[in-house]
């Protein structure tokens, strides 16, 4: 069973629908005991970091996420869930976050251009992810696969070894990070067609070990 963490951060049913489509049992939950019992945990979310951290602290789920990571259980962060896994976010006048991965989350610089045209923020739409090395969660993806992004802030891990994949949008940023039993992606696998579903399916079978 996969537990999808519900911390009032947007509509979480799309991740559940994608797992149901893959015939992977899942539950959307805000209860600590469900997270402890689950074999795997998905930490999604859409919205702003400040509000998300208030909800996570208020409900006690902040400590639970940390506990899930420390237990070695496979953990998948998606979008805002990925961002609050870092130490801090520049969003909402700097928000202190969970600090599971060293580094921060920064706003895309204004005035980015590409081929003479100004780049819009948020970064919204389909873009490539250049994977660094092999990881079981990203197995079987073609090199030119694209994923659906919607975000104005990007992950900036302190430790280069935590970067699992990179994306170009005005700058080059870490669109996927991996550390031990944690994989976290800035894009939405549940909205990224067949290759996104492949990531969810890989995760549903991953034991949390990081064999190269």
């Amino acid at each position: 069973m996969i537990a999808i963490v519900d911390y009032r951060a947007g509509n979480l049913t799309s991740v559940a629908r994608a797992l149901q489509h893959l015939n992977v049992p899942c539950v959307v939950t805000d209860r600590a005991e469900d997270l402890r019992r689950a074999e795997r945990v998905i930490f999604p979310g859409v919205g702003a970091a400040g509000e998300a951290m208030r909800n996570l602290r208020g409900t006690g789920l902040a400590g639970c996420i940390r506990e899930v990571f420390d237990s070695g259980k496979p953990l998948l962060g998606i979008c805002l869930g990925t961002q609050v896994i870092f130490e801090y976010s520049e969003e909402d006048n700097r928000t202190e976050c969970l600090g599971i991965i060293p580094g921060g989350v920064r706003r895309f610089p204004s005035g980015m251009r590409e081929g003479g045209d100004p780049l819009k923020i948020p970064h919204m739409g389909w873009n490539r992810v250049s994977l660094r090395g092999a990881h079981p969660v990203f197995a079987g993806l073609p090199e030119n696969a694209e994923f659906y992004f919607v975000h104005s802030y990007y992950p900036a891990p302190s430790n280069g070894a935590d970067v699992a994949g990179e994306t170009e949008y005005g700058i080059r940023f870490a669109s996927a990070v991996a550390r031990k039993n944690l994989v976290a992606v800035q894009f939405h696998p549940e909205k990224s067609g067949r290759f996104g579903l492949r990531i969810l399916e890989n995760f549903s079978r991953w034991d949390g070990s990081h064999a190269q």
């Binding site: 509509n11 919205g47 739409g125 949008y169």
Partner: protein, 259 residues
Amino acid sequence: MLSKRIIPCLDVRDGKLTKGVKFKGNVDIGDPVEVARQYYEQGADEIVFYDITASSEGRDIMIDVVRRVAETIFIPFSVGGGIRTLEDMRRVILAGAEKVSVNSGAVENPRIITEGAVAFGRQCVVLGMDVKKVEKSAKIPSGYEIVIQGGRKYMGIDALWWAKEAESLGAGEICLNSIDADGTLDGYELDLTHLIASRVSIPVIASGGAGRKEHLLDVLTRAKADAALIASIVHYGTYTIAELKDYLSGNGVKVREVW
């Protein structure tokens, strides 16, 4: 580098497509869920549903269609048509749509844009604009005026002003439909698209007029659109989405090429 998006638009009334959609092999299909699935599998980057249902019973049917689409395709899709209240928006989003599009409802009550952005996030709120070319005047300095009711009612609102206003109110994207070009198959309204796309900092989806593949190239390059809405050009089997993308890619436009 971000891909330019190719977005088929499906018009739905009482839960059925208003026009059949022919795929290669000439099979005619009227079920929006089935057609959405086919376009998803054929490489659509997103799908737009436009609900032209008038009755409240028909609206409930549409919510059921949205729910079934969300169980079937795993790319973003938006739903528009008759959205007037926050509750209308909530129903569509909770049923599984990624985005909801407001058009005349926002012209009549601009606060709906802000309310939607606060409740669901800006990225969920698409402003649909129906626009007609008019004489430039003090009231309509851009020469493009907002119309509603399928172009029958002129609102005395300048299209460029409204686009910028909607952006500041919280719209996350604009779907810009030229009533003059719509249905002509003669190409998108490039001047209008360029005017709006170059003056707002949110993505602009160009709509109305696509009849040949060259039209998509023009609107995505010269007119600076972020995405192209297509209807007849794929519904009647003139091109597949893959053929359109191959052509665009061959002409230097970054598109999503594998799916």
